[in-house]
């Protein structure tokens, strides 16, 4: 087990390193405007620009810039004061990138965890019902609804929801995020629409995956044996079919959750004006602001890699056949 964990850890670090190098190369190669000019603002003198270039190290070769940037990112995570130039700072606003990401985490976490609970719960319910009533009208209806759910662009659904529920009829607030610590009731109220919007997409998908896994399981020999032995159908369902069908769901859930947590909910955050990490990412990326892009990319990649490892580990735990020898 320990060897497995160690190998995964090394793999994680390697992937993170590769991702950071790739991002850096892509951005150094892509034309995005001279960062010194961007920081200089509206009426700079040539001396301004030259000074900026020196102070921030834009005149150094690219591998030195990469190393410095990585160091600055690390500095951002360690507590204590740092000089202005030792922290990852945006080219456009000169804000502390790590600080901005940390500020966006509560909104993103609130959105993703809430939506995840909803989609997991309803996804399982939908999957079980449609598997048990397979072939009947209700199964077909649920399947169609689920398919409609995954066929909708999430941002369009958000716009339509805002239009009907927050603008034409002001039943819900029209976007914005209230921190949990400020006002829990408002926090919840503001998040209902975004939760539903994000969850709809996944409910359909998970429902169908679970349905097809359960149907496969129900045809397996061991289920037939259990039934033949006289076990009531419900017990068969719960003890055998469901347990085995949920294993692939765990994998999927781990990866999807990591993806949205890592900033994948950009579209939902943008439509509902939740200033989370995804929203911050979209802002900086559109402006080709390299330090925030680097910060957000590493943040997102970290979650995906971490949850991949967690999921693999869980999978090994749940399915003895997969455990490493």
């Amino acid at each position: 087990m320990t060897a497995f964990i160690m190998r995964r850890l090394i793999g994680m670090v390697a992937v993170l390193f590769a991702v950071s190098v790739l991002v850096f190369i892509v951005f150094i190669l892509l034309p995005g405007g001279d960062p010194a000019e961007r920081m200089a603002g509206k009426n700079p003198t040539p001396e301004n620009i030259h000074n900026i270039r020196e102070k921030w190290g834009f005149d150094k070769p690219f591998y030195v810039q990469y190393a410095r940037m990585m160091q600055k990112a690390a500095n951002g995570l360690t507590p204590g004061p740092h000089s202005e130039y030792d922290i990852l700072r945006s080219f456009d606003t000169r804000q502390d990138v790590v600080h901005e990401i940390v500020k966006g985490i509560p909104a993103t976490m609130s959105l993703c965890i809430g939506a995840a609970i909803i989609w997991l719960f309803f996804g399982i319910v939908v999957g079980v019902i449609s598997a048990v009533t397979a072939g009947t009208v209700s199964d077909r209806l649920i399947t169609i609804l689920a398919l409609v759910g995954i066929s909708m662009p999430v941002f369009w659904l958000g716009i339509v929801m805002r239009y009907f529920f927050a603008e034409t009829n002001t039943w819900f607030p029209d976007g914005g995020y209230v921190p949990l610590t400020t006002d829990p009731a408002q926090w919840f109220y503001h998040l209902i629409l975004p939760w539903l919007c994000l969850a709809v997409l996944f409910i359909g998908f998970y429902g169908r995956v679970l349905r097809s896994n359960m149907l496969d399981s129900m045809g397996e020999d061991y289920v037939r044996t259990a039934r033949a032995k006289g076990l009531p159908p419900r017990a068969v369902l719960q003890r055998h079919v469901l347990r085995n069908s949920l294993i692939p769901i765990v994998t999927l859930f781990g990866l999807d959750f990591a993806a949205v947590l890592g900033g994948g909910a950009i579209l939902t955050e943008t439509v509902f004006d939740l200033k989370g990490v995804g929203w911050y990412a979209a802002q900086s990326v559109g402006g080709l602001d390299l330090p925030p892009i680097m910060g957000v990319t590493l943040y997102g990649a970290f979650f995906i890699v971490f949850f991949s490892a967690v999921v693999d580990f869980l999978y090994a735990y749940l399915d003895p056949r997969v455990r490493p020898a």
Binding site: A18, D216, G300, I304, S308
Partner: protein
């Protein structure tokens, strides 16, 4: 070989059976069986039909624009008047204005020409957008762009994923390790961010390296960017299937007989995964259409003024009160297209998978 134990072969058995039951039993290939199952799935066929109708309608966008609406997708007609049922109406009228007598601005909302259906002889059938452009023409051209990108990127994605999976599965070892790590890295990459970034960066000058010249407004940029997003999504499962196929005896036999790698890959491995690939391909088109819509919505896909269903939704957002159809219609178009692909893909999977216990039949 020794003498056969009996002179009863499969063919003679069939002959005997048919004489007995007056029914001809014919051996069927799995493809034929799949086709028969698919044929009975009316919902899937209807969806495929819907998809083709949409594709053809969008492909005919230039014809519609030229002969029916008499305008291009980017042509602005604000300040003009259109004859609807004989009456002249402003394309965009109303709006605030400065009243010289009172010395103040009178605040009024602008009025947009709503859908004329057929009352204006084909002009502005679905009304105008906030810049006085014909919505129907833009929706069709937008569909054309979205579908070209969606299908094109799906083709590239499938082709690349398939190639990589074949290589990884056939050669195994170091090659497999490398390709798997490649899949891992792409998987870990927040690809939406990268797509936005690359689009924004290349927007200024296009891409002019390595002998390839792509202009800034070209559709190739979003196509290439989107195609690589889902490579690991299908690359990994296919690789898994190929790896397990690789262990089977018939592959060992083929290699033992001296078949080269290309021969094994094309004649032995590929045919066994084609059904999986086909299903994936259908679903990837659907997924890529949604991804392109998302990118265009954020301004990083098809660049304005060229339409795409995604950026039409974005442009129409500000008019959601007075002209909600501007955002609703492209959204519905996306839902119908993607839904039809999903339903058909489902039906295809059910048809191709003989082990499926319950299929949507009747």
């Amino acid at each position: 070989m020794a003498e056969p134990a009996t002179d009863l072969t499969f063919d003679s058995a069939a002959l005997l059976a048919s004489e007995e039951h007056e029914v001809t039993i014919v051996g069927r290939s799995p493809w034929y069986l799949a086709w028969r199952r698919l044929r009975r799935n009316y919902l899937a066929l209807a969806s495929l039909g819907l998809f083709f109708v949409i594709v053809i309608a969008c492909a005919l966008a230039p014809v519609y624009a030229h002969h029916v609406a008499h305008t291009g997708p980017n042509d602005v007609h604000v300040g003009e008047k259109v004859r609807v049922d004989g009456k002249l109406k402003d394309v965009i009228g109303g709006g605030s204005f400065y009243d010289v007598n009172t010395g103040k601005f009178v605040v009024k909302a602008p009025t947009y020409l709503g859908p004329t259906w057929w009352h204006a002889h084909g002009r502005f059938v679905l009304g105008t957008d906030n810049l006085g452009r014909d919505v129907a023409v833009r929706v069709l051209y937008g569909g054309r762009n979205s579908l070209m990108i969606g299908i094109g990127s799906a083709l590239i994605c499938t082709f690349v994923a398939l190639t990589l999976a074949l290589l990884a599965g056939y050669y195994r070892g170091g090659c497999d390790w490398l390709i798997s790590r490649f899949f891992d890295i792409i998987w870990a990459f927040p690809v939406l961010l990268l797509a936005i970034a690359i689009s924004s960066a290349l927007a200024i000058n296009g891409f002019h390296h390595f002998g390839i010249n792509i202009e800034p407004g070209s559709l190739w940029l979003p196509t290439l960017v989107i195609s690589y997003v889902l490579i690991p999504y299908i690359g990994r499962p296919i690789r898994g299937q190929i790896l397990s196929l690789r262990e089977k005896e018939f592959i060992e036999a083929a290699i033992g007989q001296g078949a080269g790698p290309l021969r094994v890959m094309f004649s032995d491995l590929l045919p066994n995964i084609v059904s999986t690939v086909l299903v994936f391909f259908t679903l990837i088109i659907a997924a890529n259409i949604l991804t392109e819509a998302g990118l265009s919505y954020l301004g990083a896909g098809v660049r304005l003024p060229d339409p795409s269903w995604g950026n039409l939704i974005a442009s129409g957002q500000d008019q959601i009160e007075t002209a909600p159809w501007l955002s609703l219609i492209p959204g519905i178009a996306i839902v119908l297209t993607v839904l039809s692909l999903n339903i058909f893909g489902d039906g295809l999977r059910d048809a191709l998978d003989p082990r499926a216990k319950v299929r949507i039949e009747r």
